[in-house]
């Protein structure tokens, strides 16, 4: 399943880049309860309580920044499991700035297996759309001057 989109924020590319590449700050935009643990510059682990429809619970996962070309492009891979499910995400972000606005083009290949894919299939797209826009809205709040 491929998800992609564009997000524009009134902030400099440098600022957006450093936000996106800092796991702790980035994670602060996630609405669901979560914990994050930094392993090294490129690797972090985490735990999140989330769900799709009736399938809710704790998921454990890890992510790794596998490519970085500051302040333009990065690729992050993540893997997680929980609630009889597993997910794998391979995502890229590309940034460009114009007239005080930074545009983030993002894409993610998501592979879901297990209960979430089976029981949540009908609800999945809606949930992902909602959580994605919620996430970017939070990012905007944190980056744009109040």
């Amino acid at each position: 399943m491929r998800q992609e989109g564009t997000f524009t924020v009134r902030a400099s590319q440098e600022k957006v880049w450093s936000f996106f590449l800092d796991p702790v700050r980035l994670a602060s935009a996630i609405a669901d309860p979560h914990m994050i643990e930094i392993i090294d510059d490129n690797t972090f682990k985490g735990q999140i309580k989330t769900g799709v429809g009736p399938i809710r619970g704790t998921f454990n996962g890890s992510a790794q920044i596998v490519e970085r070309e500051p302040p333009r492009r990065a690729r992050i891979k993540a893997h997680g499991a929980g609630m009889g499910s597993a997910f794998d995400v391979d995502s890229t972000i590309e940034m460009s700035e114009s007239g005080g606005l930074t545009t983030v083009k993002w894409a993610a290949d998501v592979v879901l297996n297990g209960t979430i894919a089976t029981m949540g299939a009908r609800l999945l797209e809606g949930t992902i759309d909602r959580k994605t826009s919620e996430f970017f809205e939070n990012v905007r709040k944190k980056l744009e001057p109040h």
């Binding site: 597993a86 297996n113 297990g114 209960t115 089976t118």
Partner: protein, 777 residues
């Protein structure tokens, strides 16, 4: 003089007294002191290597006592078990998982909750492998080999064929009209109300294993346990208590049963394992998944000539179907149906995929549903091609009633039938000519209406010992009767009811044969310590086999009763006749002895030279199968705007031979029709390319409620089986077998004006709308 509760009486079902009060005893009602609970870790991946299973955190969950993995079972040589079809199946995997929701490990705890928490705490490290969900792709040369453990490095399991390939191909070439069609019968789930489960209790002192289990075949299970686990058979007791629907889904040995036994051995406590709904839907035996390609020929006058059928059967990762040993594709070669083809050829190829194993479950009588659907669709397509009314076409081609016993070109000997009478009755009841006129008028007005017929022939009652066995066990069945001194009786059987009403119907057979009220006959099944050996209940076999055994055992009782009656009446046994449910002196009806009087004498005044007591047992080996049949006609209206199909009328004429309890038969038919309707219109399991099951809940897997279900109009003809002691044929699956084709034929009939020849089931509004849209309707 009739006996209360004898043959043909619609008495109320004895078992319903407890069922409607919620007083049935199902496996989950069994609670033993010190009982532990088992829950299963299942794979999120459809195909993956298991790199590691970390159980440390799970063992720290309060209440968790043990975690069982494949490598623990491997030590006892129990990681794999044989299937009924000479394949092997993992109990718990050591290296790889083969389908999503496969068992990976099991947690034993002191409560159901702790077991579930333990399952969530087991950490499994998987390495995903390429997934194959389409059996046709599984056969491509570059497909990953799913079963490297086998010598044969291919996903092809077996090839099976019957008939004359060359002759059939030649006859098709010569036939004036030939049609070809691909028909897919999708994967279906059994969806019994009660899920599967067991309570395993291995007594550490006596060494005796007792397992309360949701099984349709307790004796066969006991023998399998004895052979696989090496336990002495007299120290295994399988008890199948009340069962909330089986439909074939409770024939297989699921890994959970075996793990529960191991868990009881390991802990010294009874262990309960009960599936939840999702586990039941996602991991248990399935039905259908047949990709059929059929070719059928006729003369231009509409006389059938030849039938050629090729099929790819998706068996999942192992062949764990429950077919008789000699028939890997079940009785699929009943596919010539109600017609005397001059030649026919059928071949089936079994294929592995990353899906759950199984393959015959769901009221199909060993692939008869697939066969009946295919032939009744093909005959209809051919009739449309020739431009002949499908009813007329069938009437012209049916096996005539005076041709029975009829030997089919693929080798079956049909016992009896009158197909013309059944179709005529259905046509009269629905007002066939009038409906066709109405259809014509509606067509002119641009409205869509269709009429579909299905004139199916089943094959049930497996089966005769010369060709039927499962794991070498011959498929006879049994009845043991003991008459008490006061003339009441207990009878035990080798079959096992899952809701069919055996306690009532068997008692009715015995009432008729013995002159004892059915109220006074207790029927027991399902406990291997007490019931006589039998192969269980599936494939509509109970009445044809154990029902026949009931008659035969009762007639043995009568043989002895005659001696006692003669002694009491001081006449020669030859002077007596069994008439009006008692022994009377020929020509002197006033000089007679009832079974009650005879039974009392058997214990108080038995004749010299005759043993006391009155009991008998029969192991009945049927001389042939039985061939129930019927004709169904369905009328549908289709909404052009939405694609919605509405079943306006559905007339079902069934012939299951002699009827034991008309009310129970009607109930069976109503249930079967509803299941057939569900298959035709609603049910389908799909898998995404990663092997995730879509349809693993009742949110996504559609079952009909009373709201969606059409009103059924049922009727019967009666053509007794000549070889069954009371002429009964069995009815458990007829309607599920016959209904889907009638509905599909009706829909295709409505759409035929647009050149539509086929629409795969389930016929959803979306599919119909798409066709209408494409055709510019």
């Amino acid at each position: 003089m009739t006996v209360h509760g004898g043959l043909g009486q619609s008495i109320k079902r004895k078992e319903d007294a407890r069922f409607i009060r919620g007083k049935g005893t199902y496996v989950d009602d069994v609670k033993l002191p010190g009982m532990l609970y088992l829950d299963i870790v299942r794979s999120p991946y459809a195909h993956a290597v298991i790199r590691n299973i970390n159980i440390e955190k799970a063992l720290k969950v309060p209440g968790v006592l043990a975690v069982i993995r494949g490598k623990d079972l491997e030590a006892a040589n129990l990681a794999w078990m044989p299937t009924l079809m000479s394949d092997r199946q993992m109990v718990l995997p050591v290296e790889r998982v083969m389908y999503q929701a496969q068992e990976v490990a099991a947690v034993v705890a002191d409560s159901r909750y702790a077991a579930a928490d333990g399952v969530a705490a087991v950490e499994v490290d998987y390495e995903p492998l390429p997934v194959v969900v389409d059996p046709r792709k599984a056969l491509l040369p570059d497909a990953p080999i799913l079963r490297p453990d086998r010598e044969k490095k291919s996903n092809h399991i077996w090839h099976w064929e019957v008939g004359d390939r060359k002759g059939t191909e030649e006859l098709l070439r010569k036939s004036e009209v030939v049609v070809k069609e691909n028909i897919y019968l999708p994967r279906l789930l059994v969806s019994s109300i009660e899920t599967c489960g067991c309570v395993a209790d291995l007594d550490p002192v006596s060494g005796k294993l007792t397992v309360w289990m949701t099984t349709q075949a307790p004796h066969a299970i006991r023998t399998v346990f004895a052979l696989v686990a090496g336990l002495p058979e007299h120290k295994i007791r399988i008890i199948s208590p009340d069962i909330g629907g089986g439909f074939g889904g409770k024939v297989p040995v699921y890994p959970g049963y075996v793990i529960a036994v191991v868990a009881s051995l390991k802990t010294g406590h009874p262990v309960k394992w009960i599936e939840d709904r999702s586990e039941n839907l996602q991991a248990d035996s399935f039905a259908r998944d047949y990709h059929i390609s059929a070719e059928i020929g006729a003369t231009k006058e509409g006389k059938l000539t030849a039938l050629l059928v090729k099929t790819i059967a998706d068996h999942g990762y192992t062949d764990a179907a429950a077919n008789p040993s000699k028939f890997p594709a079940g009785l699929f070669h009943i596919i010539t149906g109600s017609y005397p083809f001059k030649n026919a050829f059928v071949e089936v190829d079994g294929v592995y995929t990353n899906k759950p194993p199984g393959g015959i479950a769901y009221r199909c009588s060993f692939r008869v549903t697939e066969a009946a659907f295919a032939i009744e669709r093909m005959v209809d397509i051919l009739a449309h091609k020739i431009g002949m009314d499908p009813a007329e076409f069938r009437m012209k081609n049916f096996i005539p009633s005076d041709a029975f016993p009829f030997k089919s070109v693929l080798g079956w000997t049909y016992d009896s039938g009158n197909y013309h009478a059944a179709l005529q009755k259905a046509m009269d009841l629905i007002g066939y000519e009038e409906l066709r006129r109405e259809q014509e008028e509606k067509r002119k007005r641009g409205e869509l209406m269709g009429i579909g017929i299905s004139s199916f022939t089943e094959i049930v009652g497996a089966g005769p010992s010369d060709s039927f066995d499962i794991l070498g066990l011959k498929m006879f069945d049994s009845c043991e009767i003991r008459i008490h001194p006061t003339g009441k009786a207990i009878a035990r059987f080798g079959t096992k009811s899952q809701g069919q009403g055996h306690e009532t119907t068997y008692a009715q057979i015995l009432a008729e044969e013995l002159g004892i009220s059915s109220d006074d006959i207790a029927v027991e099944e399902g406990d291997t310590d007490t019931a006589p050996y039998g192969l269980g209940t599936y494939a509509s076999r109970s009445t044809p086999t154990a029902g026949a055994a009931a008659s035969m055992a009762a007639r043995k009782i009568r043989d002895k009763a005659r001696l006692i009656a003669a002694h009491l009446l001081e006449v020669s046994p030859d002077d007596l006749e069994w008439k009006d449910h008692k022994f009377q002196v020929k020509g002197v009806p006033s000089k007679a002895k009832t079974m009650q009087e005879i039974a009392f004498a058997a214990y108080t005044n038995h004749p010299p030279g005759v043993e006391a007591g009155l009991e008998a047992v029969s192991y009945y080996d049927p001389p042939n199968l039985t061939f129930p049949f019927g004709s169904y006609i369905c009328a549908v209206d289709i909404d052009k705007e939405t694609g919605e199909v509405k079943i306006r009328r559905f007339v079902a004429v069934d012939d299951c031979g002699t009827i034991i309890n008309p009310m129970i038969v009607e109930g069976q038919i109503h249930g079967g029709l509803t299941m057939g309707f569900a298959a035709a219109m609603l049910e389908e399991v799909q898998y995404d390319p990663d092997g995730n099951m879509h349809g693993g809940t009742f949110m996504d897997y559609l079952l009909p409620t009373a709201v969606e279900t059409p009103r059924w109009e049922t009727a019967k003809t009666t053509t007794p089986s000549p070889h069954h002691p009371i002429g009964a044929k069995g009815v458990g699956e007829s309607a599920t077998v016959g209904a889907p084709a009638a509905i599909a034929n009706a829909v295709v009939d409505a759409l035929s004006q647009y050149g539509v020849t086929n629409i795969d089931i389930p016929i959803t509004p979306w599919k119909v709308w798409k066709i209408l849209h494409e055709k510019g309707a």
